[in-house]
């Protein structure tokens, strides 16, 4: 009797295990739910059972969430590859299963054809060369330190900024700090994989850096690679508004003074301006 009971229990367990083994569960984000199919963001479409059970992924109970793009779902497949249950959530679900395991259930009229676009990037490595991609971007935050050498005639108390396409080319987007007679520095955080273009300036676009040949220069380009910290060193050869020997500096909203080569604009009023030699007034 005991043996019979044990056999029955074993049989029941076997049936349960077999039944459990025939269903596969994967979780992912929905791309679409239409025409009797559910599509995940892998692009794969799967048959949906007419009586598919739609539940809340957290409670297992009824849900008001409807299958739609962006919704996260845990799909249960039966042995024929039909989705019999969808547990939905508006927030990401823990990874479960693998879409590689259900790829053979995906419905597609055409047979897979290799994509030459993708194959071009998978060239056979030469001996000793790693087949891993040379650059990988995880998207994690990276501390990037910019150090720039400025022209020696840059006024000592000048403010130096970085202007980037990330900030709509705002001239004062990233203020820097002087670290010695010729260098300024700033550290900022960027996500790895970010590519941005930038230039240095002295607070306005009239005082933007120019190339070594005096012409306006194209922006620098920088790719933030995966690292704990990165350092970027640059050289500014000249400023647009104050090249060597220049005597006129345009400044918005300030009328220039008449050309006056007297270099001491703030002498006390008690000091008379330079005078001709007494008795020898210069001719007009």
């Amino acid at each position: 009797m005991t043996q019979r009971i044990l056999s029955l229990v074993a049989l029941t367990l076997t049936v349960v295990l077999l039944a459990a083994g025939s269903s596969v569960v994967v979780s992912g984000q929905l791309l679409a739910y239409q025409d009797g199919f559910v599509f995940f963001t892998t692009g794969d479409g799967f048959h949906v059972a007419p009586n598919v059970a739609i539940r809340d992924a957290k409670t297992g109970g009824a849900t008001t969430v409807k299958p739609a793009p962006r919704i996260w779902a845990r799909a249960t497949f039966d042995s024929s590859g039909t989705v019999t249950e969808l547990d939905l959530s508006r927030s990401p679900l823990p990874p479960q299963g693998s879409f590689a395991d259900v790829a053979h259930f995906a419905v597609a009229l055409s047979s897979p054809v290799p994509n030459p676009d993708l194959l071009k990037n998978i060239e056979t490595p030469t001996p000793g060369e790693s087949s891993e991609p040379s650059q990988h971007f995880s998207g994690r935050p990276v501390l990037v330190t910019f150090i720039v050498q400025v022209p020696p005639y840059t006024p000592f108390t000048s403010s130096i900024y970085i202007t980037t396409d990330q900030s709509g080319w705002n001239a004062q987007a990233i203020p820097m700090d002087r670290i010695d007679a010729l260098h300024y520095q700033i550290t900022r955080r960027f996500n790895s994989g970010t590519i941005f273009r930038y230039l240095y300036d002295r607070g306005s676009l009239q005082s933007q850096e120019v190339a070594q040949n005096g012409l306006s220069r194209p922006p620098r380009s920088f790719v933030v690679a995966d690292a704990d910290v990165l350092t970027r060193r640059d050289i500014v050869y000249a400023w647009q508004d104050s090249g060597p020997g220049s005597v006129n500096q345009q400044q918005p909203q300030i009328m220039p003074t008449p050309y006056n080569p007297a270099p001491f604009p703030n002498l006390p009023g008690s000091v008379p301006p330079p005078q001709p030699q007494p008795g020898k007034p210069p001719a007009w």
Binding site: F37, S110, P133, D165, P175, A181, H183, R197, S246, Y259
Partner: protein
């Protein structure tokens, strides 16, 4: 004036013509890379894809500024300039990756018909469209190079072709539609932004993310706060309204228009637009070939109520042209100014005064070498030489146009080296004549100078890099000879030693000596009378136009976090002539309270400047600084910079 107007008009015509003729420039690489490992398709053609316009409408359109993502849901409709229309339930576009996705009950419609599907993804840079059609069953089609009539069926697609980005933050902008110019701009329709979770209606708002740096050019002065509303724009234009605040003009509106091409730009602005004091600005730039560029900047100042008849008007134009040689360049600069474009006696009607009728013009051509390393030495050298012409035909006495009891305006003229004016207007100065008339209407000048400098030189080689000391030095010497018996020399020497104690803490100690000589071959500076009085301190008895400023600086920068920064700069000046509190004039400030020049005679022997920057919003930094001055013995006078310099910097 006529010359500047003609040149400005010519530049504008050139800029407009070039803008019209501009063809799409080389398309730069995507400015962001998806964090997911994915096989990126390689375009078959090396030619850059054309720019595409997308017209998007949906029930909800959200834009996330920090990630340059547009996400839309409900009744999505996308019409493209490539000739097809897509409808669906959800839309996602990464503006930097330059690709978009439409998912859920998708229809793809073009001139050949309509196909239904589950999702479509367009990789615009690579001219590949990945489509999941649903006919009798799902399938996978790839459209190559814009050919929607002949899909490549069954092609394996990139793993992330239909990826939705994970988003947890609040959108920066919400809207009901958008026009997206790929890689350059997105213009949102019925847009709202959010401040402290409260919606702020914007109507139309443009986000410009063009790699073209000419969009950066602006003609506005600095401001403490600048809130920019980009009202309209496209690939080559941007119209912005600025709500600004500065200590001078307080709160006001400004308008700026950008017109940008691949090699040229034209920027126009009026600032402040809602104040009687208006500055009308026009900046023009054109690059012709790879070696030559020309630019101009014109300011027109008017004092007028709205657009009424101005009571004052001034104009100045800067012209710059640069030609690059292989190891040097030549720059021609010109400055044309008219201090009263309304004419004599036109100011302050009905009690008209003449005002300053001067209209000096100036031109200079300068040749500058590249910085070259001196063989065998860790020193770089650079030399330059220029020739200049300065002219003001109005001549002397034009400053003495006061009338109706209004005193004349004692503005130094083209050359203040002159004799006392014949007519002193009845003003008798305690120390002699008050008004000195300019003498020369034309001055030619020659400038020659050179720079020597070192890059950072290591002073020691410890194992710990944070124990390394670096040395920097620079030296500038310049002479300027004028066509009158007058020449100016300057010599500027800088030394500094710096050390980083950690990644977040930097210090430097610098020493600067600036000598300026204002030499006259005949006459020149005279000692002030009443030597030893407060108005004529002892050091002026030996002052003959040569000054020396010695500055020792200690700078500390502490940046423990990228969003927080504190810096302190303490300086000691040992100058000749010796500064006396209240005797010397202070430099004028710009409109946000910063001095226009930072090295001047009479500066307090000690000063300390503290500056704090802290991130206050996701896209804004607050920058506050102030300087404290003190004189030490025997004066012991102390004073603060008149006000804090406060700026809100968008990041």
């Amino acid at each position: 004036m006529a010359l500047s107007s003609t040149l400005a008009a010519l530049m504008l015509i050139l800029a407009c013509a070039s803008t019209r003729a501009a063809t799409p420039g080389p398309s730069p690489a995507p400015t962001s890379v998806a964090p997911q490992a994915s096989a990126t398709p390689t375009p078959q053609s090396t030619a850059p894809p054309p720019r595409t316009l997308l017209y998007l409408s949906a029930s909800n359109v959200n834009f996330y500024y920090d990630r340059f993502l547009i996400e839309a849901d409900g009744n999505v409709r996308v019409q493209t300039s490539d000739g097809f229309t897509v409808t669906g339930d959800a839309f996602s576009m990464d503006l930097k990756l330059n690709r978009f996705l439409v998912a859920g009950h998708v229809t793809l419609h073009d001139s050949t018909g309509t196909v239904s599907g589950a999702a479509i993804s367009d990789f615009l840079d690579f001219q590949r469209i990945y489509f999941v059609p649903v006919t009798t069953a799902p399938d996978r089609w790839t459209f190559l190079n814009g050919d929607l009539a002949h899909p490549a069926k069954g092609r394996v697609m990139p793993d992330d072709a239909f990826y939705f980005p994970l988003i947890s933050q609040h959108p920066s902008i919400t809207a009901s539609g958008a026009v997206i110019g790929t890689k350059t701009y997105a213009r949102f329709v019925n847009a709202h932004t959010y401040f402290l979770n409260a919606g702020v209606p914007l109507g139309s708002y443009v986000v410009n993310f063009s790699p073209n740096q000419y969009f950066a050019q602006n003609t506005l002065s600095g401001a403490s706060v600048d809130l920019t509303w980009n009202v309209a724009g496209n690939t080559n234009a941007l119209t912005a309204v600025h709500l600004r605040y500065d200590p001078t003009y307080k709160t006001y509106l400004s308008v700026e228009q950008h017109l940008v091409g691949d090699h040229e730009y034209a920027i126009f602005s009026v600032n402040p637009a809602t104040r009687a004091e208006k500055w009308w600005n026009l900046a023009l730039y054109e690059k012709l070939g790879s070696r030559f560029q020309i630019s101009s900047f014109t300011q027109y100042y008017t004092q007028q109520v709205w657009l009424g008849e101005p009571s004052a008007a001034q104009q100045t134009t800067f012209l710059n042209a640069t030609y690059a040689f292989p190891h040097s360049y030549v720059t021609a600069t010109s400055q044309l100014t008219n201090y009263n474009t309304l004419g004599p006696g036109s100011l302050e009607v009905p009690q008209a005064i003449g005002g300053n009728l001067s209209h000096p013009s100036q031109a200079q051509i300068t040749a500058t070498s590249f910085a070259n390393k001196i063989p065998g030495l860790p020193i770089f050298e650079q030399i330059y030489e220029g020739y200049g012409f300065n002219h003001d035909s109005v001549g002397p006495l034009q400053y003495l146009q006061g009338s109706n009891g209004i005193p004349p305006i004692p503005i130094p003229g083209l050359q203040a080296y002159g004799s006392p004016c014949a007519d002193q207007h009845g003003v008798v100065g305690k120390n002699g004549p008050v008004y000195y008339c300019p003498v020369y209407t034309t001055i030619w000048n020659t400038v020659f100078g050179f720079n020597l400098y070192t890059q950072s030189l290591k002073l020691n080689n410890p194992e710990n890099p944070y124990e390394t000391y670096y040395f920097n030095a620079s030296f500038n010497r310049q002479w300027q000879w004028n066509s009158l018996p007058h020449w100016i020399s300057s010599e500027n020497v800088n030394f500094s030693i710096n050390r980083a104690f950690s990644r977040s803490l930097n210090t430097y100690l610098a020493y600067q000596v600036l000598n300026v000589g204002d030499h006259y071959l005949q006459g020149g500076y005279l000692p002030c009378p009443d030597v030893g009085t407060p108005l004529c301190p002892l050091s002026f008895t030996s002052f003959r136009g040569v000054s020396t400023e010695r500055t020792t600086s200690l700078g500390i920068n502490f940046a423990p976090h990228p969003e927080f920064n504190f810096s302190l700069l303490v300086r000691h000046h040992e100058d000749f002539p010796i500064p006396v509190p209240g005797l010397f004039g202070l430099p004028p400030n710009n409109i946000i309270g910063q001095p226009l020049y930072t090295s001047y005679l009479g500066q307090a022997p000690y000063d300390a400047t503290g500056e704090v920057r802290i991130k206050i919003l996701s896209h804004a930094l607050l920058d506050v600084s102030r300087t404290f001055y003190w004189y030490g013995n025997p004066y012991r006078t102390t004073f603060w910079q008149p006000s804090f310099v406060v700026q809100v910097l968008p990041i």
